[in-house]
Amino acid sequence: MARWLLEHPEKSALGAVIVAGVWRILREIWKDVRGKKDETLIETLMRENYELRHELDELRRRERS
């Protein structure tokens, strides 16, 4: 198996990448179906921090122009 993977790097790479991508898409669909956001407190704080920083950057840019 390992030998085949090493002998055909492009097929192995394509296979691994497609499996990972499909897995991610299925996870997103599954999350949508459940309608639940798996967000921890840290993630919420980071998201809010990011949004606020973005807002601040926008305000600064508007002030400058």
Partner: protein, 139 residues
Amino acid sequence: MNTCLGICYRLRHLLWRAPYSIFDLAMSAGFLAMGLHLLLFPDLFSRFDGVYFPMRRVMDQAMWAWVFIGCGGYGLLLVLWPRRPRFILRLLARMAVAFCLLSFALDNLSSYPPPMSGMLYAVLAVFSIWSIVRIRCDG
């Protein structure tokens, strides 16, 4: 003009604040450069036949160069785009870069003894696969 300014602003943000997207930026830029390098030195695969034999068996050097330029360029465009692109586009960009990295890593590891760069590519490939698995719709 606005898009150009936006791209410059995004680049500055990535370089100064170094968020997680810096990995995407580095890998995409790296593959774009590698593609150009392959075009600049068209006899690279034949000179180092021992290392690049599995890749050469699939496609010739120029085709690999264009694959790297395409994947790297697409990844670079997406990571520098001023507004957050759609989830599926971001996922595809990471998949494209991961494909290049993984095929390069496996190609390096398949020759005996594997060159030292093989380990680096292998670690980067594992992380790029991880970045696909952990990409967030709202990230």
